[in-house]
Symmetry: C2
Subunit: 371 residues, 2 copies
């Protein structure tokens, strides 16, 4: 299919977690892809992957964990299961917007708070008292902006009643949330966990499940075959309502096991080091700069850079060097690049990327000065 | 995980298609799991898999093909996109029932026609003239009953106006439908195509898409983020609205290519031969018999047998011999076994299964005569 073998620093799908080939080989040898989703062998896989994620992310032991097809599906399940009418969405890009639109297309009176490149102050936000759920995109993959964990905690402290739902699609497992403050969180496996695409994970508190139960038992109708309650009923027996991506559930468990062995603190420390390397490189060049101005609102896992020239120039040069990064998203397509910094990306590979980034940016700079 | 290496004759997930390990290895070498779902490389994969399925199943060239997470998701998309109020469901088991319930939970005035083990005559069915969609479960995985293709064709001939939706979850690619008569068809990849679970495929006619378009353009609101129309818009550029299971789309293309090379007529011929071997074995034993009385309503791909003793006895004996078959479904759990006969199961493996089936059934028979 391709002639140059690339390293993928794309924001998702991205580089596979080291050893993925062997994990898949092992899984196939153990017939993981042939076992029934109603068998004890599957129950064990569900339970092991769930427990591993509880350990890795430091989740409260009574939290629920569901395996679904995609993050958009999860947004829909969250909104339709737990919100009768009023959700509030803090939006800084395409995926926060998608969360908001999900509420709108499902008939909710959703409110949107757009915030700009300076972020927001939790103290300045006033939510109507009927607000049932506050929806955050902790790491906005489209813009490279994060909501700092301290801001999330402050937001929760000031608004203890509504459910707090946090999209960590492209920041898990790096983001170190205090899960006791969060009711719903979700991520896709093809980003920070380095798996093939095709599955997403929903984490839900008891409070979230009780909310769904209360709504449903008072006659509220959830569209669709499954909701948070039917998912929780099946999960009690480590099962899923429909045939899930068994192989992906197994592989996720294996990756998480490796992450625990390596130590999540070390993984997070490395992500910090790698992010600093990239941002340092970007700051040193004259024809590009980090897209997000304020350091603590800047993503460490999906870093966006503004360019003074068409992004294609840089993307092509990097591609030829076997380095794939993402173009800008939406209106920033052609004007930005986005670089993933996931646990699958070694410090060494990021160093190589930085080296080439510098060379290629200089080439483009020199060429533009000549013209 | 397991000590005895088994062959899986379970009705899904089941035995992987021969060569799957190598196909996955190749895919990973070619970085299929890392490429973007917005890239040209992905577009090519979508296009190739679609074209291969058009060739294998003899689909009209203008039919649409969508990749979704599961068959239940597809049932929901079909019903919510194309039915304003009235669908009719012919039901003979749990999955036909699920199709019907999908319509009910999505607020439709669905009608259900239960039919028994003698099947039905198309001429005897009268549908109200407001019927928008007739929903069939061509191969009912839970009961092992099929609707013969001639009956489907007759049904269409007598009812030309409504959309005709056919669940071929566990009979594709064996069932040889006349697609010109069918508007919607869907299957899961973990059954007849021998892939790991986690994806399902929806085939849709122009008429079905136009119906969704007409409904939506006249103000009908489809719940959820995606519908048949948004799927078709993305498909026009060989893309999907959300990150799909790229690896599975690629692998499906590879399996279909192999099936075309082998020749679908040969695959169907073998399935017939293998089904005859199994049914012959079942008929020869005194303590079991095919669950479906009439031969032409009997599934060739998911064969159910009534047992005169608890199924666990037989399942355990077969398991110990490295042969996994499925238990009965729902109220038939413990009373039946179900045997898959997919393209991944070689004639030789089915012969081995038949041999052991005969031995184990005799053992049980002899033991029960002794007690």
């Amino acid at each position: 299919m391709q002639t140059v073998k690339k390293t993928y620093f794309t924001v998702g799908p991205s580089q596979l977690y080291p050893g993925m080939e062997t994990m898949i080989e092992e899984a196939l040898k153990n017939k993981v892809a042939s076992i029934s989703h109603r068998s004890d062998d599957f129950r064990k896989i569900y339970q092991q992957t769930k427990q591993a994620l509880i350990n890795l992310l430091n989740l409260p032991a009574d939290y629920h964990l569901f395996f679904l097809g995609s993050s958009i599906e999860i947004m829909e399940k969250i909104i339709t299961s737990c919100v009768k009418q009023n959700s509030v969405h803090l939006v800084n890009g395409a995926f926060g917007e998608k969360f908001y639109e999900t509420a709108i297309v499902n008939g909710k009176k959703a409110r949107k708070v757009n915030y700009g490149s300076d972020g927001f102050k939790a103290e300045k936000l006033l939510f109507p008292k009927e607000t049932e759920m506050i929806c955050l995109t902790q790491n906005e993959t489209s813009s490279g902006m994060v909501i700092p964990v301290t801001t999330i905690n402050k937001l929760r402290q000031l608004n203890p009643r509504p459910l707090l739902a946090v999209d960590i699609v492209s920041s898990a497992p790096d983001v170190n949330l205090n899960w006791n403050l969060i009711d719903l969180g979700f991520f896709s496996v093809q980003k920070g966990f380095g798996l093939p695409a095709g599955m997403a994970v929903l984490i839900a508190s008891q409070k979230a499940i009780r909310r769904a139960e209360k709504l449903i038992k008072t006659g509220y109708s959830v569209p669709g075959f499954h909701n948070l309650l039917t998912l929780a009923e099946k999960e009690a027996d480590y099962q899923t309502p429909e045939t899930p991506n068994i192989l992906a559930i197994y592989l996720l468990g294996q990756v998480v096991k490796k992450m625990i062995e390596k130590d999540i603190r070390k993984i997070r420390q490395e992500i910090k080091i790698k992010a600093n390397l990239v941002y340092k490189t970007l700051r040193k060049c004259h024809n590009c700069r980090p897209a997000i101005r304020i350091n603590r609102w800047r993503s460490k896992t999906t870093m966006a850079a503004d360019l003074d020239f068409p992004s294609k120039k840089l993307l092509d040069k990097l591609n030829r060097a076997g380095l794939a990064v993402s173009d800008g998203y939406g209106e920033n397509k052609g004007k930005q690049i986005r670089i993933a910094n996931f646990p699958a990306h070694s410090v060494q590979k990021i160093r190589k990327l930085c080296k080439y980034l510098k060379i290629k940016l200089l080439e483009i700079d020199r060429h533009s000065n000549l013209v």
